[in-house]
Amino acid sequence: MAQNPYIIEAHQLTKIYTMGDQQVHALRGVDLAIERGEFTAIMGPSGSGKSTLMNLIGALDQPSGGELLIEGHALSTMNGAQLADLRNRTLGFVFQQFNLLPRADALQNVKLPLRYARHDIGDADARSRECLKLVGLEGRMDHRPAQLSGGQQQRVAIARALANRPQIILADEPTGALDTKTSEDIMKLLVELNASGITIILVTHEPEVAAFASRQIHFRDGLIESDERSGS
């Protein structure tokens, strides 16, 4: 088999939510290929299916039709444990609402995915400290989420996403709850991570945020409306 340049491939991906007798076609047959090392921003109006796509790529939900491949492997052929390991090892999630454990300090939050690692992770403690240092929080390791600002919390979440050295980071509106200045800092951090080789997919409503990415995809009504690579 020839070297596959695409780390993520979607073929005719559909997702239909059924609520009672009502059906919502969130994705209507999306074809998408993302190259290793790309930094992609997904934009589009509310309800256009951005989060739905992210959840499918993140193996958190199952598509209604079509096929999705991550690193060449079709998700439809994997069982629950394999999908869990994929989320643990290959993917890193950054959420709009941070989703940190409120009772655990920053270091413990970053260590959380290492608990579920089936592969050799070496010294979990050292590795987590390293990740917190990378996001500039070496002085806040023993702070709980409530003792951190929104931007700092999102940095902890990014450090957590990095703990297992993922190939892909999926960030659904990571700056949605942050002010402009903080958003910019977070985006600079993501650009750095992308420069180190991590493929990043980001959902955002803000053109200034999307401008940090090298590729912009616009969604409308569950379909890709436009797909552009910026020249840089």
Binding site: L60, D85, R87, N88, Y116
Partner: protein
């Protein structure tokens, strides 16, 4: 995920709401404590019964002449043939018989110098000492040969020693039983009072032939009669089998026609005591069952609180799944929580059980028997309740769909 990590995070989750965890545990604590007390009570009663049986001789069968009574009506006709010394001899040859004891008894006067003392005479064979589990604390008991030849040797009880030989070594002393001179060859171990208040150390034991021929006086028709025979069954033989074999053998020996009823009876003392204790045991089982119900109710409380906990932490479960937790990891997490909860409750319950058993033994007249086994069983029951009632909530958590859990609110 490492085991210690799992336990640490379970403790962390449980201490997040100490009061709730404690109240949930309370059911387990009470359940385990009562299970433990009831088991200690049951074991105590059983130990008491066993002690009673072994004191009476667990492997002893008693033969008495006389018809078997059914419904209070005598089945046999006329006087039944007594047992004799000859029976003692032949019974000893049966493979399952370890020792045989037959006695004749009578009141006698023991005389030493100026002292006269009224005492009990037992004429018997050496099997007596083995069947009754008695030893001579000084000297020895008489031999089969001495018994057969009618030697003038006596084994005496401590009360007789005190009356006749106070302050002097009784061994080798001669005294008279009625008018017959005998030599002391042994002193019987102390036995104390019988349950009827009789002094069982006030006794002179002679070989059966000596007692019969020279003291009680042989009569042509009553010669060699013994009132009853006790048979000690050898180790490794089943009592019930021995009893039926013995009955068959005696029927043959006494020439009882097939179909006719026995003209003798065989008693098994252990059976007698066990029958009497059966009601007590039924009571014990009932109490243990009620303690089990208490533990079960405690377990339902645990399940309830675990279900609440799973619902409350649905988003957390979703997050853990997004970070790579497998269903089995989530399952293990909640099962560990349930087991830690019940295990802690179990430990406190065991401590409380010890205290409760101690108080019950001190204040009431309960015999309590606490063992490592009972302690482990009580604690194990708590842990098992944790697994059993934690399973359903844990499985429910493990089967959540990651995205549904993550979006839950």
């Amino acid at each position: 995920m490492k085991f210690t990590v799992a336990i640490a995070s379970a403790i962390e989750a449980l201490t997040a709401n100490v009061l709730r965890s404690f109240l949930t545990m309370l059911g387990i604590i009470i359940g385990v404590a009562s299970v433990m007390i009831m088991m200690a009570m049951g074991a105590g009663a059983k130990a008491q019964i066993e002690a009673q049986i072994s004191a009476l001789g667990a492997s002893t069968l008693t033969l008495r002449p006389g018809a078997t009574r059914r419904g209070g009506v005598s089945q046999g006709a006329g006087a039944s043939t007594p047992f004799t010394e000859d029976d003692l001899v032949v019974l000893l040859d049966l493979p399952f018989v370890q020792a045989v004891d037959g006695q004749i008894n009578g009141g006698v006067t023991a005389v030493s110098g100026q002292t006269n003392w009224s005492t009990q005479l037992i004429g018997t064979n050496p099997g007596y000492f083995e069947v009754q589990n008695l030893e001579a604390t000084q000297g020895r008991v008489f031999t089969e040969r001495e018994a057969r030849t009618g030697a003038a040797v006596a084994v005496i009880g401590l009360s007789v020693v005190k009356e006749l030989f106070d302050g002097i070594d009784p061994l080798g002393q001669r005294f008279r039983v009625n008018s017959v001179p005998v030599t002391v060859i042994g002193v019987l171990q102390e036995r104390g009072q019988s349950s009827f208040g009789q002094d069982r150390d006030d006794v002179v034991i002679l070989p059966i032939s000596t007692a019969r021929n020279r003291i009680i006086g042989a009569h042509p028709t009553t010669s060699k009669h013994v009132s009853r025979i006790e048979v000690m069954v050898a180790d490794g033989y089943d009592m019930a089998t021995a009893q039926s074999d013995l009955e068959e053998y005696m029927r043959e020996r006494r020439r009882i026609k097939p179909g006719a009823s026995d003209n003798f009876r065989i008693f098994n003392i252990a059976d007698f005591v066990r029958a009497r204790s059966a009601t007590q045991q039924t009571m014990g089982i009932l109490l243990a069952f009620m303690a089990g119900v208490a533990l079960f109710v405690g377990g339902v409380g645990v399940m309830n609180i675990m279900l609440v906990s799973v619902t409350e932490r649905t988003r957390e479960i979703g997050l853990r799944m997004a970070l790579g937790a497998r269903g089995t990891d989530i399952m293990a997490q909640f099962l560990t929580e349930a087991v830690v909860l019940c295990g802690t409750g179990g430990l406190i319950g065991v401590a409380l059980g010890f205290g409760g058993a101690w108080v019950a033994a001190k204040t009431g007249d309960w015999t309590m028997s606490l063992s490592v086994q009972i302690t482990l069983m009580s604690f194990g029951a708590a842990a098992a309740v944790g697994v059993f009632f934690g399973y359903f909530p844990a499985r429910r958590a493990a089967q959540l769909n990651p995205i549904d859990a993550l979006r839950y609110d």
